[in-house]
């Protein structure tokens, strides 16, 4: 019996004729806990998995090809959909790569607006990530508390740019609109009441014994494996490797800001287990709050958008930049042939690499652990398939 080319092993037990088969399960594209449309073909011996092979492509929308049709300016709304959970950083990535290839400089106030928007988006994305992770483990309440806070961030961003999910806020050369009046006070008020809530969240669920037992020592990724499989972002930092694009290859105004890069410490189990990745995200939310506060203090007055021609025709060549998205280092590559449409766009996302390591890490885990593992890698389907 074979399923799309995967053979099932049938073991015969002695000569009594007792046969055991591995059970092939389909954790299908529609499933309450795969984050988006992901499919796993799981071969399990009872509860223990032997392999979990991902089958991707259910959310492929040819975004990279569409860039060749809509042009540099027109592609900005599409970048929101590359990772719709934290769309600001994708906007920033596309804007930066176009600026690099066309040689445009962004005004300083625009850069600060970008960083504020990106970091608020990072807070929102991490809230969703830890919330859904907890919900997959079974705690329904912390999920809603996290989403309550995410709604507040969405309200702020709605005031900023009019949208709650697919922002389309940044433009090539800066941002679309300046901060509205009173925005700084509202953001500060939000941060003031949000930071103690992170502690409340930790009290509720992070150190709960049942939760820790579910996550500690599950899905351990060693540092060498993380580097070999190209993991980035909180997945890489959860294994103890301190690499953050904002710190190591600073872009925008990150070089002037002071913030820590949290890494996993193996505090509840092994270094690099699901709990470490979870804790890295919680700590990163605090760091983002710090960054937003600094930006609000340091923002100079001035324009927010540089003058960019409507038909942008960059010189022939290519450019590659990295941004630190919520899911890690996002690489944006564009090849220009001198016309107003890019010749080729390529987006490199962290979730794609995370999908590749799931098979290796999930050997020997239980089916319930697979759910925790996918959630801890913070895989979102749109990033995997684009």
């Amino acid at each position: 019996m074979s399923l799309a080319g995967f053979e099932v092993e049938v073991q015969r037990d002695g000569d009594e004729g007792l046969t055991t088969e591995e059970m092939t399960l389909n954790m299908g594209p529609q499933h309450p806990s795969t984050h988006g449309v992901l499919r796993f073909i799981v071969k399990a011996d009872g509860e223990v998995m032997r392999t979990a092979i991902p089958d991707i492509g259910y959310l492929h929308r040819s975004i990279e090809k569409i860039a060749e049709k809509v042009g540099y300016h027109g592609f900005m709304p599409y970048t929101d959909r590359v990772d719709y959970v934290s769309a600001m950083q994708c906007n920033q990535g596309w804007a930066m790569v176009c600026e690099k290839i066309a040689g445009i400089e962004v005004p300083r106030r625009g850069e600060f607006c970008r960083v504020i928007a990106s970091e608020l988006g990072r807070i929102a994305s991490h809230l969703l990530s830890v919330g859904t992770m907890v919900m997959d483990i079974g705690g329904y309440t912390p999920f809603l508390h996290a989403l309550r806070e995410r709604e507040k961030v969405n309200n702020l961003l709605e005031e900023l740019c009019g949208a709650r999910l697919t922002f389309n806020y940044m433009r090539i050369g800066g941002v679309a609109w300046d901060l509205p009046a009173g925005f700084a006070e509202k953001v500060t008020a939000f941060l003031d009441q949000f930071e103690p809530l992170i502690d409340e969240y930790n009290d509720l669920i992070s150190y709960n014994k049942i939760y820790v037992e579910r996550l500690a020592n599950v899905g351990v990724v060693s540092v060498q494996d993380a580097i070999d499989y190209n993991l980035v972002g909180p997945n890489l930092r959860g294994s103890g490797f301190k690499y953050d694009v904002r710190r190591d290859e600073p872009y925008s105004v990150y070089g002037e800001l002071e913030f820590d890069v949290p890494v996993g410490t193996g505090e509840m189990g092994t270094l690099g287990d699901c709990f470490d990745r979870y804790m890295v995200r919680i700590k990163e939310m605090r760091e983002s709050c710090k960054i937003v506060r600094q930006c609000l203090r340091m923002m100079p007055p001035g324009p927010v958008l540089a003058k960019v021609p409507r038909k942008l025709k960059p010189p022939v060549g290519d450019a590659y930049i990295r941004v630190e998205g919520s899911r890690g280092d996002m690489g944006w590559y564009v090849v220009s042939d001198g016309s107003e449409f890019p010749y080729r766009t390529k987006i490199r996302t962290g979730s794609f690499a995370a999908m590749s390591i799931i098979d290796k890490v999930s050997r020997g885990l239980m089916i319930a652990d697979l759910v925790a593992l996918i959630a801890s890698f913070d895989v979102v389907a749109p990033e995997v398939d684009r």
Partner: protein, 395 residues
């Protein structure tokens, strides 16, 4: 109940009909009355309360549209389920698929025969009451396994097998935890156990000795696990198996599974109230039998429902325990603790045959102190609640 029926017979109500037939018919009638007058309204109430309590803990509002404050939500859900299309998968085993929900509901409804609502209101005061209850709840295992297998769906099968393993395993600590009160009362009959306690907290079995206190906790945890409630709801783990063994069910068949689950909450509470909290005991405050029985009924209902309430808090707060951790909790922790309680209670009975009043009062005071501290913390949090974060905390 039997005394009542005997009086009716001697009064000449059923002349000409053999006595056994009268018993059978009247018992069926009482059972039907209890089920339709008590259990059926109870389940929608529990549904509404659970969703409401759950929402409040999650800083949401909860159902508040259907009826005043949404109390008719459960009835609306029932009507919706009745109107849904009854889908049976093509390759499913039709007879087993159709029959499985009924087994689960039988396992739940049959327990109401021995639930002592008040000193005179019990359908049948079997002299093996509590043993009968434990035995009949095991019917649920057969129903769940049938549902998982007959659905012809690997995920349902996994859910069904997990559930069967869980319920069967947790029967052991539940049974062990029932034994200390039985030892103390000297009888398995539910009314007998209640009569052995008093109305005052220091006369309850809960505070009789530390071993019975731990027994109560063990029983509650084991009963939650038997009822597939979080933190032990892996068989119906929404995020893993959609609805576990009930994935392929729709409409009223699906609703029957969950009717059994929510009603079971009340049964768990009723058993805890009977065994450990003195059941329906109230101080004799009136000569009027009807009023006395009514007050006993209310007291019992409140005591039993409180534990359902606590189960809802637990469900909203705690995440799920993985299946191997669940098994190790049962066999490596609860069973040894259950045995320790049993032996401890037996030794206690030998040393202090009439009970140790000092310990009883001491434990009561300790429990009172914990309760006072609990209410103080609740008041602290309610005061600190900001209006834009939390809605007004009345239910």
């Amino acid at each position: 109940m039997q005394a009542f029926v005997d009086r009716l017979i001697t009064d000449g109500w059923f002349s000409g009909i053999p006595v056994e037939l009268v018993y059978v018919l009247v018992m069926f009638l009482f059972g039907a009355i209890v089920v339709f007058a008590f259990v059926m309204p109870l389940v929608p109430l529990t549904v509404w309360l659970e969703r409401r309590v759950w929402s409040r803990i999650q800083s949401r509002v909860g159902p508040n549209r259907v009826g005043p404050q949404g109390v008719l939500q459960g009835i609306a859900d029932g009507i919706k389920n009745l109107l849904k299309e009854d889908i049976i998968p093509d390759a499913a085993d039709r007879p087993l698929f159709a029959f499985a929900p009924y087994l689960v509901v039988w396992g739940f409804v049959a327990t109401f025969v021995v639930i002592p609502f008040s000193s005179a209101l019990i359908i049948a005061d079997l002299n093996v009451g509590i043993l009968y209850l434990t035995a009949v709840t095991a019917l649920v295992v057969v129903g769940v396994l049938m549902a998982g297998w007959a659905s012809n769906n690997k995920w349902s099968l996994i859910g069904g097998i997990r559930s069967a393993a869980q319920i069967v395993s947790y029967e052991i600590p539940a049974g062990l935890a029932i034994l200390p009160p039985v030892l103390l009362a000297g009888t398995l009959s539910m009314q007998g156990i209640i009569h052995a306690q008093g109305w005052a907290p220091w006369d309850w079995f809960l505070f009789y000795n530390p071993f019975t206190f731990v027994s109560a906790v063990v029983f509650y945890v084991a009963a939650l696990a038997e009822g597939n409630r979080t933190p032990f709801d892996l068989p119906e783990a929404e995020s893993e198996l959609v609805a576990g063994f009930a994935t392929e069910y729709s409409g009223m068949r699906f609703a029957l599974f969950f009717l059994a689950e929510w009603g079971n909450l009340y049964v768990i509470g009723a058993v805890v109230a009977t065994l450990f909290l003195g059941g329906w005991q109230v101080p004799v405050w009136t000569d009027n039998v009807v009023l006395l029985n009514l007050s006993q009924f209310v007291v019992f209902f409140l005591k039993a429902y409180f534990w359902a309430f606590v189960a809802m808090w637990i469900r909203a707060t705690l995440p799920r325990v993985r299946v191997d951790q669940l098994m190790s909790l049962c066999w490596k922790y609860l069973v040894p603790i259950g045995f320790t309680n049993l032996i401890g209670t037996a030794v206690w009975m030998v040393i202090w045959p009439q009970g140790n009043r000092v310990v009883q009062f001491g434990m009561c005071l300790l429990a009172l102190a914990i309760l006072v501290q609990f209410f103080r913390r609740v008041r602290f949090h309610l005061r600190r609640a900001k209006p834009e974060l939390y809605y007004s905390p009345a239910i």
